[in-house]
C-alpha cells in the first residue's frame, strides 16, 4: 500500500470538488455569502493542490490501493462537501453539516433542515450538485476524465459501481465511464427541459432534475414534489424508474439495441415487483380507509412506492399514516432498492433475485439429493464466487442494519419503528423513513451522535461495505513488495 500515491489521486478529487463549487458561488454573490463560499472553495482547492503537488507524478495502482482510493476519496470529498454548510453557518452543528453532505453525495436525500425554503439558493444548488456527482459516482467521473488513473481505473470503477459486475460497455474503462456519464447527463438535461415546459422555474427544474436522476431526494421545497402539478408528478415517476434502471441498459438502448432492456431478466423483475407493489398499495389504501379509487389516489400510491423502490425518497404524501400493509411493503422495498448499475441504492433487485433463485435451488437439492443445481441469471450460470459474494453481502447488509438499529436505539429517544427505518433508509440511501423520520419530518430532530452514525451507514450502503471495510481491515496498510 503506497499512501503517497493514494494521496496524489485524492488531491485531484478535491480539486474537482472545488471546481464543482463554482455554480453555487454565482448565486452566493447576490446572497451576501460570497466570502464564506470563496473561503470554502479555496480551502478545498489548496488542500487538493497541496496533496497533488507534494506526491509523486508516476502513479500505478494495485487492486488494494484502488479500493483504498475509493474509500478514502469518498471520505475526503464528503468532508469537503460539508464545508459550505459549516462556513456559511447554515448547519446547526458540524455533525449535522457532515450528515447533510453525506446524505447528498450518497444520494440519500435525508435532510437536517426543517424548512428548506429558508436556505440560500447557493446552498440548495450545492445540495443538488452533491446528489448529481454522487449518483453516477465521483470516482467514475474521475476515471472518465482523468487519464492518469490509467490501468488502475478498472479497480476503482468496480469499487464504486454498485451491484454485480456486468459487461463493459466499451473495451476501455475510461470510455465506459464516459459513456455512462453522457447517458446520465443527457437524461438529466431531458428531464430539466420537460420540467421547464411543464411550468417549473429554471432553478427548480435544474435542481429537481439532478436530484431525480441521481435517485437523491433533495428538493427546493419542504413539501418535496407534493405542491407541483400532477403532470410534473407523472413525469417524475417515469424518470425515477429510469434512474433506478441499470445504466448499461440505457446505453444499449441509445445505441439502437431497442429490445435489450426487455431481454434483461433483472429489468423484468424490477418492473414486475414495482407494478405488483403499486397494486397492493392501491388496494390497501382503498380497502383500509374511506378513500375512493381516484386518479389522484393511484398517482399518490404509485409516486411514493416508486420513490421508495428506486431509493429516490421524494414524497407527495405522509406515508407514515398509510395502513400497516402498505408501510410494510415500503419497508421491504427500502431493503431491496433499485437495479444494480443504476444510481439507486439498496440491496439491489439483481441480488434479491439471485438469492431467491439460490434458495429455490437449495430446495431442489433437498427433493433431489443428486441434482446438479446451477443458479442462472439471464440464462447464464452464475459463478460460485459471485454467489458467495452475494450471500455474504446479504449477511453484511442485515448485520449492519441490525447494528445500526441497536446503536440508534441506544442513543435514547427513538422508538423501534424510527430506529429501524432510519437505519434502513440510511443504508439503502432512501431518505425518509417511517415513524418520527417520515416524509413530512426531518433528521434535524436527531442528536449529533445519531447524525454521525447515520452518515456512516449511508457511506457503507453507497460503497457497498467492502470498499470501506478494507480501510480498517488488518493487513490493508502493510507495505507491499513493490512499494517505495
Amino acid at each position: 500500500m503506497n499512501l503517497r500515491e493514494i494521496l496524489h489521486i485524492i488531491g485531484a478529487l478535491l480539486m474537482w470538488t472545488a471546481a464543482a463549487m463554482a455554480p453555487p458561488i454565482v448565486f452566493a454573490a447576490s446572497e451576501g455569502l460570497l466570502v464564506p463560499w470563496l473561503v470554502t472553495a479555496l480551502i478545498t482547492a489548496v488542500v487538493g493542490l497541496g496533496l497533488w503537488r507534494l506526491t509523486p507524478r508516476e502513479v500505478s495502482i494495485n487492486p488494494r490501493e484502488g479500493v483504498a482510493i475509493v474509500g478514502l476519496g469518498w471520505i475526503a470529498v464528503v468532508l469537503a462537501g460539508s464545508l459550505p454548510f459549516i462556513i456559511t453557518g447554515t448547519a446547526p452543528t458540524i455533525p449535522a453539516a457532515i450528515f447533510e453532505s453525506v446524505s447528498g453525495f450518497t444520494t440519500t436525500g435525508a435532510t437536517v433542515f426543517p424548512v428548506i425554503e429558508e436556505l440560500p439558493k447557493s446552498i440548495l444548488l450545492w445540495r443538488s450538485i452533491t446528489h448529481w456527482l454522487g449518483g453516477m459516482g465521483i470516482i467514475v467521473l474521475g476515471v472518465a476524465i482523468l487519464p492518469l488513473l490509467g490501468m488502475g481505473g478498472a479497480q476503482l470503477f468496480r469499487a464504486e459501481a454498485p451491484g454485480i459486475p456486468s459487461e463493459r460497455l466499451r473495451p476501455r474503462i475510461a470510455s465506459t465511464a464516459r459513456s455512462l456519464w453522457v447517458v446520465y447527463g443527457v437524461l438529466t438535461g431531458t428531464l430539466a427541459v420537460i420540467y421547464l415546459l411543464l411550468g417549473m422555474s429554471v432553478f427548480d427544474a435544474v435542481n429537481h432534475a439532478m436530484s431525480c436522476l441521481a435517485t437523491g431526494g433533495f428538493s427546493t421545497k419542504t413539501s418535496s414534489i407534493r405542491d407541483f402539478s400532477s403532470a410534473i408528478q407523472w413525469v417524475t415517476i417515469l424518470f425515477m424508474i429510469l434512474a433506478g434502471t441499470n445504466f448499461t441498459l440505457h446505453f444499449r438502448f441509445a445505441m439502437g439495441r431497442w429490445m435489450s432492456p426487455f431481454r434483461d431478466e433483472e429489468w423484468r423483475w424490477y418492473l414486475g415487483i414495482m407494478a405488483f407493489c403499486w397494486l397492493v398499495v392501491v388496494a390497501s389504501l382503498v380497502t383500509a380507509g374511506d378513500e375512493l379509487l381516484t386518479g389522484e389516489l393511484i398517482r399518490r400510491a404509485m409516486f411514493n412506492v416508486t420513490a421508495i423502490n428506486t431509493t429516490t425518497g421524494f414524497a407527495t404524501t405522509d406515508f407514515t399514516l398509510w395502513p400497516t400493509l402498505a408501510q410494510v411493503i415500503l419497508l421491504g422495498l427500502m431493503f431491496m432498492g433499485a437495479m444494480g448499475g443504476s444510481t439507486g441504492g439498496g440491496f439491489k433487485t439483481v441480488r434479491s433475485g439471485v438469492v431467491l433463485k439460490h434458495i429455490a435451488g437449495e430446495i431442489r437439492k433437498v427433493l433431489h439429493p443428486q441434482a446438479v443445481v446451477v443458479t442462472k441469471l439471464g440464462g447464464r450460470a452464475i459463478r460460485p464466487e459471485v454467489l458467495h459474494n452475494v450471500l455474504a453481502f446479504l449477511a453484511l447488509y442485515m448485520l449492519t442494519h441490525g447494528l445500526g438499529t441497536v446503536v440508534l436505539a441506544s442513543l435514547g429517544q427513538y422508538d423501534l419503528v424510527t430506529a429501524l427505518s432510519a437505519s434502513l433508509a440510511a443504508l439503502s440511501s432512501i431518505g425518509p423513513g417511517l415513524g418520527d423520520v417520515g416524509p413530512v419530518s426531518h433528521y434535524g430532530i436527531m442528536t449529533p451522535m445519531a447524525h454521525l452514525v447515520l452518515s456512516m451507514l449511508m457511506l457503507l450502503g453507497r460503497l457497498e461495505f467492502y470498499t470501506l471495510l478494507v480501510l480498517v481491515a488488518p493487513g490493508t496498510w502493510i507495505r507491499s513488495g513493490g512499494d517505495r
Partner: protein, 448 residues
C-alpha cells in the same frame, strides 16, 4: 458415383458400407492407418491415409472425378475445413457433419456456403428429433416423416389383444371403410414382405404403416395402443444426443430429468440447459432411478455411450413401469435382442447418420430416403416427372415390382394414401416403400 468419405469413425464406416452395397465407388480418407486396415478387411472400398483437410490427400482420393464429398469425422472443424479445401472442385456436392450446437444453431453467422459446404448434417440432432417423434407416438418402434410431418411412416409390433389381430387386409378394408391408412410392410420371423389382400395379421408381427398425421390416433387404436400425452420424460447419459433431446423436450412442455454419470459433464449441461432437472448419478443405479420416480414417467430414453448400460437401465425403467422406453443401441447385433427382451424402441446413431446422409446421395428425382432398424427395407421419396411410365394409369394396372408399394402420394397441399384405383400425376411426390431387391427397379420407374 465416385464418393470420397473423410473420417473412418462409426459414421464414416457405416455410410461407406451402405454406399458400397449400393454399387457406388467409395474412397475413405483417415489419419489412422490401423482403422483403415480394419476397413479394407471388412468393406469393399478404397482407403487413403492422410488428413482430410489436405487438398493433396483429397486429390489422391480422386476428388476430381467425385460427385460427393462426405466429411463425417467427429471433429466439426476438420469437416468444415475439408469442404473448404474441396471448394475449387466443380459439380461436387459437399456434405459436412457438424455436431457443435454453436455451429449448427447459429446459421445467421455461420453460413454453410462460406465454407463451401452444400449441406450441413447433424446426426446427433437427427437422433434427438427421431426420439422426440417416437415419444410423441408412444407405441411406435420406428418413425419416418415426409412432407413436413403430414405423412408418417410408423413401425409397430402387434400386441396380443389388438383388434386387428387375426384379420386379413380384405376384412379390415370392409370393416373399417376407406381410411387413409395403408399397411406397407410386415415383418414376421425375420423376413419382410409387402402384404397382399389375403395376408392375415398375427400378434407379434412388426407392421409398417403409412398414415395421414390426423389418422394416427385411430391407427393406434386399431393396433391396440392408446395415444398418450407425454408429460414426464427421463433421459440418461451426457451425450450430444441427450443434450439435443433435453433442449427439445421442455419446448413441448415436457417435464424433463437428465441423469449423467460424469460430474463435469453434468455441471456443463446444467449450465447450458433451461428447465431441465440435471442429476449426477449412474444410469444403472436402481435406487436412484426409483427415487426419481422412473416408474411414473411417460418416456424413458437411455442415451449413454455404452449399449450395455443403456439396455440395463432401460430394463430397470420398463420393470418399474415407465410407459415408453427408447434405447440407444450402437451394436447392430443388440437390436433384435433389445426388442426380444421387451424394450419398446431402439435408436441408433449410425442409422441416424446414414439416414441424414443417404438423403443426399442418390441423384436425380430422389429427395429423401429413410431406412429402418428392423429390416433392410427403405422408404424413398420420388418426384414424379411426365416421363415416368406410371403416370396416368391406375396403380393396380401399373407395373410396380411386387416387393414394393406406393405408400403415399403428396399432391400440392394434400396427402393421398393410395388405393389400387388411384393414379400418379406428373408433379406429385410419391413415397415408395421397397425391399432391397426392388430398390433399383423402383428407381428406374422414376426417371428425373
Amino acid at each position: 458415383m465416385h464418393i470420397v468419405v473423410v473420417g473412418a469413425g462409426e459414421v464414416g464406416y457405416h455410410v461407406a458400407e451402405r454406399l458400397s452395397n449400393q454399387q457406388h465407388d467409395v474412397v475413405i480418407v483417415d489419419v489412422q492407418a490401423q482403422r483403415l486396415d480394419y476397413i479394407v478387411n471388412h468393406l469393399d472400398v478404397a482407403v487413403v491415409e492422410g488428413s482430410g483437410t489436405s487438398t493433396a490427400v483429397l486429390e489422391e482420393a480422386g476428388l476430381k472425378k467425385a460427385g460427393l464429398l462426405l466429411a463425417v469425422t467427429n471433429v466439426d472443424e476438420v469437416n468444415l475445413v475439408s469442404c473448404m479445401s474441396a471448394r475449387a472442385v466443380g459439380g461436387l456436392v459437399k456434405v459436412a457433419r457438424v455436431s457443435n450446437p454453436d455451429f449448427y444453431r447459429d446459421t445467421r453467422n455461420l453460413k454453410p456456403d462460406a465454407f463451401g459446404v452444400d449441406v450441413l448434417i447433424n446426426p446427433e440432432r437427427e437422433l434427438a428429433l427421431e426420439t422426440m417423434r417416437l415419444l410423441q407416438s408412444t407405441a411406435a418402434t420406428d418413425i419416418a416423416v415426409f412432407a413436413g410431418g403430414a405423412v408418417q411412416l410408423l413401425g409397430f409390433v402387434v400386441p396380443e389383444h389388438a383388434p386387428i389381430a387375426g384379420r386379413t387386409l380384405i376384412e379390415l378394408a370392409e370393416q373399417e371403410g376407406h381410411r387413409p391408412i395403408l399397411l406397407v410392410a410386415l415383418e414376421r420371423d425375420g423376413t419382410t414382405i409387402v402384404p397382399k389382400g389375403t395376408t392375415d395379421i398375427r400378434p407379434g408381427d412388426h407392421l409398417y404403416v403409412t398414415a395421414r398425421a390426423d389418422e394416427i390416433p385411430r391407427s393406434l387404436e386399431l393396433l391396440g395402443y392408446e395415444q398418450s400425452n407425454v408429460k414426464r420424460v427421463m433421459i440418461t447419459g451426457g451425450s450430444t444426443e441427450a443434450y439435443y433431446l433435453a433442449r427439445l423436450l421442455p419446448q413441448h412442455h415436457v417435464q424433463t430429468t437428465l441423469l449423467i454419470a460424469e460430474r463435469q459433464r453434468a455441471q456443463e449441461l446444467a449450465e447450458n440447459l433451461n428447465k431441465v432437472l440435471v442429476l449426477h448419478g449412474d444410469a444403472t443405479d436402481v435406487e436412484l432411478l426409483e427415487l426419481e420416480g422412473v416408474g411414473g414417467t411417460d418416456g424413458f430414453v437411455a442415451l449413454t455411450d455404452k449399449d450395455e448400460t443403456n439396455i440395463l437401465s432401460s430394463l430397470v425403467a420398463k420393470r418399474a413401469g415407465a410407459k415408453h422406453v427408447i434405447t440407444l443401441v450402437n451394436k447392430r447385433d443388440y437390436i433384435p435382442l433389445a426388442r426380444h427382451i421387451g424394450l419398446d424402441a431402439a435408436v441408433s446413431p449410425r442409422l441416424s447418420a446414414a439416414n441424414a446422409i443417404l438423403r443426399y446421395v442418390r441423384s436425380g428425382s430422389v429427395t429423401r430416403v429413410a431406412t429402418f432398424e428392423g429390416s433392410d427395407a427403405e422408404a424413398i421419396s420420388f418426384e414424379v416427372s411426365d416421363t415416368s411410365p406410371l403416370v396416368g394409369r391406375p396403380l393396380f394396372e401399373a407395373d410396380i415390382p411386387e416387393e414394393s408399394i406406393v405408400a403415399a402420394i403428396i399432391r400440392g397441399p394434400s396427402v393421398i394414401i393410395p388405393r389400387g384405383n388411384d393414379t400418379l400425376e406428373a408433379g406429385d411426390t410419391a413415397i415408395v416403400f421397397a425391399l432391397p431387391e426392388a430398390v433399383q427397379a423402383v428407381t428406374d420407374l422414376f426417371p428425373s
